[in-house]
Symmetry: C2
Subunit: 326 residues, 2 copies
């Protein structure tokens, strides 16, 4: 059974929304174990009139703490205990809405990497047009070409599992299409990825997003993070631009148009909202790890748990391991 | 007089659109000199029933040529002769819609850098919400912290001249707001920019674009290029998303809404179209250099010439020199 450990103390609205989200996920068939302060979690479960497995964790890592320091100092932190559960086989994946840095550190120390993987990466999905897996979006701000090639393999598996694309096209983020473009990093990575047994779409640019040119975009964590946040910022700026243009009009037709377009723009904002999707995937560790947004509501927590569970069902870890082994 | 040299052979629609654009710019008060094949340019001028100064250049650099090689091999290329004109004082600025690489190389070799400037950079303007100068967007894919600090100074002058902001806020592109974020490059640049006599907004992210948090965003050329193209791609993807949602509807109200929103989306596309604005600024050379898009129409060429002329009128070069001297 694919049991998922939830860091039930992580996030702005924990433990209440975490527990409620876990109950929702359980109704959707996810086998969840809550990890956190037993007394607090029992109280939440009682208030909801429900029950779920609990593993006690006496400590919590605060968003403001230095993740690397906190993970070492607080062995009993909920996120660390959740990672330990995955490591010991008590769970196959974990979800945390707490500090991203702490979740990364807990996964690195507690769960460990898939054999052969140099660096776990954070993968997220660009949600417009043809959905695109983008990785790394921030776990590794400096990488080498071999690590980018591994991101290509891992991203390809993520696209298979979560986008349902059998043979995904993998592109390398660059500043032009030609093979000669980019830094030495991209030039070297181009050659390495080209030699892999996957569909390589060559270099891609931010302007190709959503156009179906690549199902996966591989980037160093700095560039990937810039891409992700620029996409989010531009999407919001476009929304504001359209609403302001419509809001100023006195023409009743335009006013009606605004009523139609507003829900679309809100839907757009939701698509870029990490909560709506559930979270980002930390790939390359020996578990299906989903990092949910700090402000996650019960819906976001439930979605994140479903994602982690689906990853386990589709053997995300085993397929990445096979891909890396080559 | 602020004479601007136009590489009249550069661009997909040269020399016809170049000459027509130059005539439009001349009507708007720009003192233009056409640089290119004299016979061809005379023919275009005759067809238009007009006259303009011409400086003959016997060669043209093709878009497909290696810029560095071509610049060395073709001393008589129109873009090189235009740069020479700036260098010799025959013009104060230049515009080219030809190969960007060739224009960069011609400016570097022919015009030369402002004293003290380590690397010229390409600055462009993010056109949504509060407009933002972004530099470098591709001239230097690898830079050091001192060069980023110079980009801050140059970008600040660009915002003063082209956005009319007296005391622009300058942000450093990073993957988080905290000073501790980013690579060593950003951490070091943060300290250098902080020490400069300008308004430093600290680290900014792509999601801050258009929100008025920074009038200038400083980045290495790789990240800046990713930002620019992602913004363009997202803007187009959002437009497609909204149009598809409206196009599917049978409700007459929604059909009316589509008629109102479509022009807004086209306007959006135009804003991201480098042609509409005229071009990108190559700052740091001893001239006001505007690089127009390869597909530039007469309107785009005219706009680019006006930009270069305005830069000269507002002493862009002198102000950058003063800023760099500190």
């Amino acid at each position: 059974m694919a049991r998922i450990a939830l860091d039930a103390m992580g996030g702005d609205h924990a433990p209440q929304q975490a527990v409620l989200g876990a109950l929702d996920a359980a109704e959707r068939g996810v086998d969840v174990v809550l990890v956190g302060d037993e007394t607090a979690l029992r109280a939440e479960l009682e208030a909801a009139g429900a029950s779920l497995a609990i593993v006690h964790a006496p400590e919590v890592i605060d968003m403001a703490e230095d993740p690397a320091v906190a993970i070492r100092a607080k062995k009993g932190a909920s996120v660390s205990v959740a990672a330990e559960l995955v490591s010991s086989g008590g769970a196959v994946g974990m979800v945390s809405a707490g500090s991203t840095g702490a979740a990364l550190a807990a996964a690195a120390f507690g769960i460990g990497r898939i054999p052969g993987v140099s660096r776990p990466a954070i993968a997220t999905i660009f949600p417009l047009g043809t959905p695109t897996v983008v990785l790394d979006v921030g776990a590794n701000i400096e990488v080498n070409a071999g690590q980018l090639a591994q991101f290509a393999v891992m991203g390809s598996v993520v696209a298979q599992v979560y986008l349902g694309v059998d043979d995904p096209q993998v592109g390398l983020l660059n500043i032009g299409e030609e093979e000669s473009k980019g830094r030495d990093l991209e030039k070297e990575a181009f050659k390495l990825i080209e030699a892999l047994p996957l569909r390589f779409a060559g270099n891609v640019e931010g302007r190709d997003l959503g156009r179906g040119i690549a199902d996966v975009v591989v980037a160093d964590g700095f560039s990937g993070n810039v891409l992700l946040k620029t996409a989010e910022g531009t999407s919001l700026a476009v929304g504001r631009f359209i609403m302001e243009a419509l809001a100023d009009a006195e023409d009743p037709v335009v006013q009606e148009a605004a009523k139609v377009v507003l829900p679309l723009l809100l839907q757009l904002r939701e698509r870029f909202d990490p909560e709506a999707y559930g979270g980002a995937h930390l790939v390359g560790t020996r578990g299906t790890v989903v990092i949910a947004h700090g402000s996650s509501s019960r819906v976001a927590i439930a979605n994140a748990l479903v994602l982690a569970s689906e990853g386990a069902e589709h053997d995300l870890v085993g397929r990445i391991e096979a891909g890396i082994r080559g």
